[in-house]
């Protein structure tokens, strides 16, 4: 089966600034992808390219096996909820759903209405709470029965309770539709709960990509006495190095078992792992690559 989203060396330049560069990735079918990275890392650009909002400056994009700029019919199978769930504020809930029905040939009324419980059809969008608006935008996106669903910062305006409710609805819809999902968020904790695949962007580059299981099993924290670092058997590369007094802690990507007893070896959680890859402190250093190279790309 072809991956629903593939990028080969994709770059996007806005005027003189590259928002995304050298982006190569393949999202497996039915994955729930956490697209992580600080603000301005290129997450929205990646999603915008995927739905053909703009053309890549370089590289090639395949969405469900098609080029989204040449074959706009592919968009019928892609659900996209842009940041802040943009909806027509003067529309009622009913208007919004009717508009979605009229503009989407494969519209599935039953799915959409399932996700509109507790919303009154006559309410105007402008009077809805952030959580209700997010639910309405999700219902519109799910009503298309998308094979690929893209969400840009869906939790940004939601309080914790509304965020959890939104996530419940989203997971419910995803298991019903068997869709592949990409959730962009700058808050790692928001995507940690559901993601089984991670794409981490920073400064327009993919820093890390892979299944959560593979990423967690291939990284360990090593703690031991501070020492000059040579090659440590079992360690492929040192992602981050921290000193405190006579002790040092390394976040290491492994390619084997670390058996040296002078290191104590601990597992690392996903949130800590992603934050470590985002941290600027690991960019410089004597062995660091030239700026902009994809050294950490999994």
């Amino acid at each position: 089966m072809t991956p629903p989203l593939v990028m080969h060396g994709v770059g996007k330049r806005f005027r003189r600034r590259w928002a995304l560069r050298d982006c190569t990735l393949a999202i497996p079918e039915r994955a729930i992808v956490g697209l992580a990275g600080p603000n301005g890392a290129g997450k929205s650009t990646l999603l915008g390219l995927t739905v053909g909002l703009f053309a890549p400056t370089e590289g090639r994009i395949d969405v469900l096996g098609r080029d989204p700029r040449r074959r706009q019919d592919v968009l019928a199978d892609v659900g996209y909820v842009a940041r802040d769930a943009p909806l027509y504020r003067t529309f009622t809930v009913r208007d919004t759903i009717e508009f979605a029905r009229a503009t989407n040939p494969g519209w599935d009324e039953s799915i959409a209405s399932e996700f509109l419980t507790r919303l009154s059809a006559d309410d105007r969008v402008s009077t809805l709470s952030a959580g209700e608006r997010a639910r309405l935008a999700l219902a519109v996106a799910l009503g298309k029965r998308p094979a690929l669903l893209l969400l840009d910062e869906p939790f940004a305006r939601l309080d914790p309770l509304a965020a959890r409710e939104f996530l419940q609805l989203l997971m419910d819809g995803v298991s019903e539709l068997e869709a592949t999902v990409v959730i962009a968020s700058h808050v790692v904790a928001d995507i940690e709960r559901v993601s089984d695949h991670i794409v981490l962007l920073s400064e327009g580059h993919v820093r890390l990509e892979g299944s959560v299981e593979e990423l967690l099993s291939s990284h360990r924290l090593l703690t031991g006495a501070a020492r000059p670092l040579g090659r440590i058997p079992g360690v492929q590369e040192i992602v981050r190095e921290r000193h405190s007094g006579r002790q040092m802690t390394l976040l290491a990507r492994l390619n084997g078992r670390v058996v040296d007893p002078s290191w104590s070896v601990d597992e690392i959680g996903l949130e800590d792992l992603l934050l470590a890859y985002m941290a600027p402190e690991r960019l410089p250093g004597p062995t660091a690559p030239e700026k902009g190279r994809l050294r950490w790309h999994g």
């Binding site: 729930i32 959890r164 419940q168 609805l169 997971m171 298991s175 559901v194």
Partner: protein
């Protein structure tokens, strides 16, 4: 029907937490042959977790011969972990209860009690493996 819970900070992979909770319920006799597990959709809508996680946990249980997925109907318990030891649980629990009371009388607080139990468990199982 069993209701799952998820501890994201436990360090145990979420699908394994589901497997462990089913096994524990089977050991305690809370689930029995013929009982139905909640559907994947029910679990994800309840816990806000990835459907692939639930499906993976259920597959693992099926591979272990504990459940069977019947297409279009759901996932059902096909074997139990409780029998035949379950009938001894109550008596053992009462013995443990009186041991706990003795420990409290001897002045152990909760942390000391946990420490004694966990080291004893560990040593006992190590001896058995060795």
């Amino acid at each position: 029907m069993i209701e799952f819970h998820l501890d994201p900070r436990s360090g145990v992979a979420p699908y394994l937490q589901i497997v462990q909770q089913v096994k524990e319920a089977l050991r305690l006799g809370l689930l029995d042959v013929g009982d139905q597990l909640p559907t994947v959709r029910e679990v994800v809508a309840d816990l806000a977790i990835n459907p692939n996680t639930v499906a993976k946990g259920y597959r693992e249980l099926e591979a272990g011969g504990l459940v069977e997925a019947r297409p279009g109907r759901g996932t059902f318990i096909t074997s139990t972990l409780a029998a035949p030891s379950l009938k001894h649980h109550e008596a053992l629990r009462q013995e443990l209860e009186s041991w706990l009371q003795a420990a409290e009388r001897a002045g152990l607080d909760e942390e000391s009690i946990r420490a004694v139990i966990s080291t004893t468990l560990r040593e006992a199982f190590v001896r058995r493996v060795a």
